[in-house]
Structure formats: C-alpha cells, structure tokens
C-alpha cells in the first residue's frame, strides 16, 4: 500500500481541482458554482461518515453487523429502483425481492466458490457493486415496460380480446424489457479493458496489485454483474408487468398507470 500517497495535505491541495470547476462555471455563467460546492460538501460529509462506519464494521468483523450493512445497501438500492418505476401501480416489494434475490444468489455463489470471503471488507463493497448494478438494470427494465405498454397498447388489447392470458399478451414486451435491463452490462463486458479499465481493476492496480492479478478480480466482477442484472431484470419484469392489468385480465387505462 506504500504507493498510495493520498494524505490530508494532498487532498486539500487537490481541492484546487474543484476550484477549476467553480471557475469554469462562473466564467461561463453556468450557475453551477453553488451546486458544485453543495455537492462537494455532501460528498465529503457522506464519505467521512461511511469511512468511519466501515472502519468500525471492518474492525468489529461481526457476522450480524456485516449482514446488516449488506442488507442496508439492498434496501436502499431497492428504494431507488422502485422510485425509477414510472408506473403508479408500482410496488416496493417487487423491487426489493428482485434486488434481494439477485444480490444474494450472486453473493452466495461468490462466497461458496471461495472467490470472496465472508468478511466485511469484501462483503460490503461487493454487495454495493452488485446491488447498484441490479438497481440500474431494474430501473431500465421498468422504464422499458412502461414505454412499451404505452406504445403497444392496441396490440396488447387485441391479444387479450383473442383470449390470451396477461402473460401471453405481454410476452414480447416483457422480453424486450428484460433485454433492455441487461444490455448495458453485456455491452460493457464486450469493451472492458479496451475502452475503460473498470473501477475494481483500477482500484486494485492503484493499490499496487499487479495487473495479472487485478484482471482475475475484474473477470469475477464481469461474471457477477451478468448474473445479477439478468436475475434482477427477470424477477422485476415478471412482477411488474402485472401492474398494468386488473383482476379481470383487462389492461388498465393509461391514466391509472402513468
């Protein structure tokens, strides 16, 4: 870890970088100076708090506390995914079950395979990575569902009129939405290492781990994100399409869902 040279003094000096942004904002009259400073203050406070909390959790190395911290991340990620659903019929528990299941199946496989150990310094950051990617995928899946139920309203109605179940009537929409949720992960899997060096790998190399070792972790991350976003999108999608119908297998009016 000797190569890591971020100390308090260098951080204060690096604050000059923020001033660059503030300078650009005021020079170009972007009106962002206040926003930038507010954002910086929040980031510093939030990160300081989480730094202390994590230090405490890492030192304690307690099974219950580690699990609670991981669950806290999942609950928050679920809340954010839920908020991204444009439908008014949305249900928090759909998002929660999707993120909970996708996160812990992935995490479980990682722990059981020995790729990571059940210690807070590994479980907490990996939970965060998995849950946040699941959250993004689910949010995309929700938006795609909503857009397609709007665009393909007449087609869904025709299928229902022909006696289709709501699932059969929604199937192409559901498939497309699940695809939409997974697509960014698949796309970035294709370009990883060529266009960007992802955070996990960069961080390890930054901390002095040799690249050949760092890529192994990155490969693991790619695997786990594929698993999580696919599970998350599927579970969320298969719950959420039902929001667009009532008990009489009728498609709800648009005012009722938007």
């Amino acid at each position: 870890m000797e190569q890591l040279a971020v100390n308090n003094l260098s951080l204060v000096l690096a604050f000059a970088l923020v001033l660059v942004a503030v300078f650009v904002s005021s020079k170009e009259k972007l009106g962002l100076s206040k926003d930038i400073l507010y954002g910086i203050v929040r980031a510093v406070i939030q990160l300081s708090i989480i730094g202390y909390v994590l230090t405490y959790i890492f030192q304690l190395n307690n099974l219950v506390l580690t699990s609670a911290m991981s669950l806290f991340i999942v609950v928050n990620a679920s809340w954010n995914a839920y908020k991204r659903n444009p439908s008014t019929q949305k249900n928090y528990w759909h998002s929660f079950s999707a993120i909970f299941i996708s996160t812990y199946i992935t995490l479980g496989i990682l722990v059981l395979s020995g790729a990571i150990r059940f210690i807070p310094s590994q479980i907490v950051p990996i939970s965060g990575m998995i849950a946040s990617n699941s959250m993004v995928a689910i949010g995309l899946c929700y938006r795609s569902l909503n857009k397609q139920f709007h665009d393909q309203r007449q087609q869904v109605l025709e299928k229902l009129a022909l006696g289709a179940t709501i699932k059969l009537a929604s199937l192409p929409i559901l498939r497309e939405s699940i695809k939409t949720g997974m697509q960014p992960t698949i796309d970035s899997a294709k370009t990883v290492g060529l266009v960007s060096l992802p955070g996990m790998m960069s961080g390890l190399m930054f901390a002095g781990v040799d690249p050949l070792h760092a890529i192994k972790y990155q490969i693991m991350v790619t695997f786990m994100l594929l698993s999580t976003t696919s599970l998350g999108s599927i579970i969320a999608g298969y719950h959420a399409y039902k929001n667009y119908f009532n008990h009489d297998l009728q498609l709800l009016d648009e005012e009722e869902t938007e």
């Binding site: 007449q154 009129a161 022909l162 009489d248």
Partner: protein
C-alpha cells in the same frame, strides 16, 4: 334459450355514464345489427360483452351464467371481439395467425390457416408479409381470421367494414354470412347504409341507451 343476456347494464368512466341501464337478450344463432351516432357507446357495449371492460352496474350472462363466473381467457375465446381498425401485432401476418393456436396451446395448423386465407381471397404467401406492408382492407381480413380460426359462439364485430374498399368489404361481409350460417351468433356494429337496409334485426343506440324496443333477436 338466449345465449347472451344483459340485465340493467351500465358503464361509467370519469363521472360520465357511457352505457345507461341496457337490457338486452340475444337468442342463439341471431344476427343483430347495431347502429347509432358516433360516440353513442356502441364500441363500449361490445367491449363490455367481450369482458374487455367490466360493467359498473348490472349483469351480463353468457349461456345463463354470469360473465364474472367464467375463466375470462376461455370466455373471450367463446365471445370474440374484433376491433375497429385493428393494429395487428408481431412482425408478420403469420405471427397473427399463429396466435389463436398459442392461446389454445395447440400446434400451428398450416392447412387450416390456408383454408381461411382462401376464404378471404388471400394467397398462402401472405403469411410471410410484414404487417407494415399490407393495406387496411387486408389487415381487417387477417384480423377477422384471428377471431374465427376457431369458431367462437358469439362474434362481436366493431365497424369491421368501415373505411374498406368495395372488394374488401364484399369479402368481409361474405365471410361474416358464412360464419353465421355455421351457427355463430353475430353482433355487428355498422354505419353502412346498405348493411343497415339488409339487416334483419336492428338495434339503434343513442347516448348509451337502446332506442328501439325490438331487441329480441330471433
């Protein structure tokens, strides 16, 4: 025995009463022609009968059983509604004609579909046509085949001839006649002068109410 009975059926949406206390009894094998001004509630009435919307008041009975007591997917296969200006779905005509088989968990029967395409004067090659590349009249014919590939007990037709060219209109009307002779009860909404003149039983709907009292069917 009436195949369909409406008892005091009303439908209200956004504080607006679109269908007002309609009583109607339709005998099995009847051919009813519904007409009335635009916006009077004809489509709404057919959608109520098709269970695509639920009455806010009153009861609908099919073969003497409450509509609500049926498995609605089965019900809609028996009481089949054809939309005014259907959109078709999927990519090709075939996607649309496979669908009635999918709904019933049955294997696609190419021969059966070919026979039906012939009935509406379309070649078999039509199956591979993109739905974006066919005319309104052809769309309406394909849509109608979806409804009758497996004969329903009641066929609900919502202005299926409006806006069609003469040729398509004649083909569609001929098909409807054929379906009726096979014992299917038909309820047809139309504005067409000639169709109304030739109709046996006409029901006029104005402002959500049945105007004339001849609503008896056969």
């Amino acid at each position: 025995m009436p195949i369909l009975t409406l008892e005091n059926v009303s439908f209200e949406s956004k504080q607006q009463k679109i269908i007002k206390n309609i009583d109607l009894s339709v005998e099995e094998g009847a051919f009813l022609t519904l007409t009335g001004p635009s916006g009077s509630g004809k489509s709404t009435l057919l959608k109520l009968i098709a269970s695509l919307i639920t009455p806010t008041d009153g009861k609908i009975l099919f073969e003497n059983q409450f509509q609500s007591s049926f498995q609605l997917t089965d019900y809609r296969q028996q009481v089949s509604y054809c939309f005014q200006q259907p959109a078709l779905f999927g990519a090709t005509v075939k996607d649309n004609l496979v669908f009635p088989f999918l709904v019933r968990d049955e294997e696609f029967n190419q021969e059966m579909v070919q026979e039906h395409l012939e009935l509406v004067d379309l070649p078999t090659s039509f199956l591979d046509k993109k739905i974006t590349e066919i005319s309104g009249g052809e769309k309406q014919r394909v849509a109608l085949i979806r409804n009758i590939l497996f004969l329903p007990k009641i066929l609900l037709l919502d202005e299926v001839t409006s806006g069609l060219d003469e040729k398509s209109k004649e083909i569609v009307l001929e098909l409807i006649r054929l379906i009726h002779t096979k014992g299917v009860t038909v309820l047809k909404v139309t504005h067409d002068e000639i169709e109304i003149q030739e109709a046996e039983h006409i029901i006029t709907i104005v402002k959500g109410e049945i105007l004339n009292g001849t609503a008896g069917g056969e």
